[in-house]
Symmetry: C2
Subunit: 307 residues, 2 copies
């Protein structure tokens, strides 16, 4: 803690359910990490300024000049300030240029990154908020060319990048569908709270069969009822089924590799689903969000920084 | 009520959420219908004998010789007596032959129909309980040949019939998925409790696009967020999306027509989804369950009837 004054940037990923902060040095190196279960929906009275002060009091006090840059749902309608959705394609310059300054305390302010939007071939829009900064942080490692990046999660994202610009993306509701079906549908009734690699693979295999997802889902019930999948296997079977459907839909056409940005267990599930389809995976740095926020901080207007 | 003595059969469809009963004459004609919100899960202390007595007391008392024949979830593990699942293909004879007699009161008994099971090309099992009796009741109207029957619902069924025998079926969890997503997922947040035919059609159209169901589901969120689908349209858009995916998966291959067995509004939705794919619909009698239970009653062993 005696290097607090070395802090050049305070980078924050403030999402729906958690708060993650980093102290960065002048080269974007991580001096310290902090995490708290203080997602935006848990902030009392939506007093984000007060919550931020209590969460990073020492960091901010001892590095009064360090810009505070944040991304995630803090920039949504339910957050501190609703920032824009930038339309793809976009790169680091546009994202940094659309970050909004929000007054915090004692004349200090925080910067909140924008979200991204895109439209598919049918003109249907998609949106992301937070993941774009993680992708931004991974762009240096990717280099030029066209890449497909997968960010598994509650609302998993598959983004295409071309020469360090995000050209488009598709969101899959897989994580939330898994959650609501496990907790609120008939599928949860027989289900034990355990994971099983073998049944996960069976779910992946089932996703490749005819019949459609809505039919395959009922199979979780019927196979459980007939005793063919034990209670301890049903959760993983459902997970494999859903992830299998997502990965099949997201990797239509030639895909020579997928870059994965995600937490450990979920990342393993997606790696397995992709391996089944013969697609190799490269894992990107899970602290990419800190690198992305550093990219933004490095591009903030100097005059505004002192305003 | 003065023709109670004319009752030859008491036919009951006892499901999870409702109880429907019919008084039938000797030719299967419906003398009277009765419906009560007394599904098997609402029967106090699982006292099905007592609940049945209070529900059809007069009918049973004034027609002491009339067999009481029932189908639906009353034959499940949560019901009065868990009856078998017969493996397809099956016809009226096998279904009637597997009905089980359960003692009721004063030496009288009730008959509970079996359920059906089948396996798809991958060997994955499927089950139904209740719908098979509705199909049985519709078989006379269908005549010989091969037919595809759709029974929309919480767990919608698509059954194939060949020369009056049920050869197989597939269950789609569409209704329950719609329900849990509307009530428990982020998709319900922006949604008004209204129906809109135009947005239902938009949902059907979206189901035909690339991207997969899990991606299309998130589009309900993003289109709502962007103000492209109004709150009043989101419910129908989600419904069209799910029904569109179900119908597409259930009508792969040549299908020249679909026989629909279902309640009014849901039946209209499926008719619209099938019309979009150029598949004509023929509506079957919604009292088919009474006709099916009559078929069973007509085949019950005479000696057992008096036992």
């Amino acid at each position: 803690m005696n290097d607090l004054a070395a802090t050049k940037i305070i980078a924050i990923d403030w999402g729906t359910s958690s708060f993650r902060a980093y102290r960065l040095d002048g080269a974007g190196g991580i001096l310290e990490r902090m995490e708290a279960p203080m997602g935006i929906l848990k902030v009392p009275d939506r007093d984000f300024a007060g919550a931020l002060e209590s969460l990073i009091f020492d960091w901010a006090r001892l590095a009064p000049q360090a810009p505070v840059v944040m991304s995630g749902m803090i920039g949504s309608r339910q957050g501190w300030r609703e920032t824009r959705y930038l339309a793809c394609p976009v790169g680091a310059e546009e994202i940094a240029g659309a970050a909004e300054a929000v007054p915090w305390r004692d004349g200090r302010k925080v910067w909140i990154a924008p979200g991204l939007s895109c439209r598919d071939a049918s003109g249907v829009p998609d949106v992301m908020r937070g993941e774009e900064v993680q992708i931004l942080g991974a762009l240096e490692a990717l280099g030029p060319g066209r890449q497909l990046i997968c960010l598994p999660g509650t609302h998993g994202k598959w983004a295409t990048v071309q020469d360090r610009r995000i050209t488009g993306f598709a969101t899959h509701m897989t994580g939330e569908v898994f959650d609501v079906l496990s907790r609120h549908s008939i599928l949860g009734r027989l289900m034990a709270d355990e994971n099983d690699e073998g049944w996960f693979q069976e779910g992946l295999a089932r996703a490749d069969a005819d019949g459609g997802l809505l039919h395959h889902l009922f199979g979780v019930r019927s196979r459980g009822l007939m005793g063919e999948v034990p209670a301890e296997g049903l959760r993983s079977y459902l997970s494999g089924l859903l992830i299998g459907h997502e990965v099949a839909a997201a990797t239509v056409g030639p895909v020579d590799r997928v870059y994965l940005l995600g937490t450990s267990r979920l990342g393993e599930y997606y790696t397995a689903a992709l391996a089944r389809r013969g697609i190799p995976v490269e894992h990107l740095d899970s602290d990419a969000v800190a690198a992305g926020l550093f990219q933004i901080a490095a591009r903030l207007p100097a005059d505004e920084e002192s305003s």
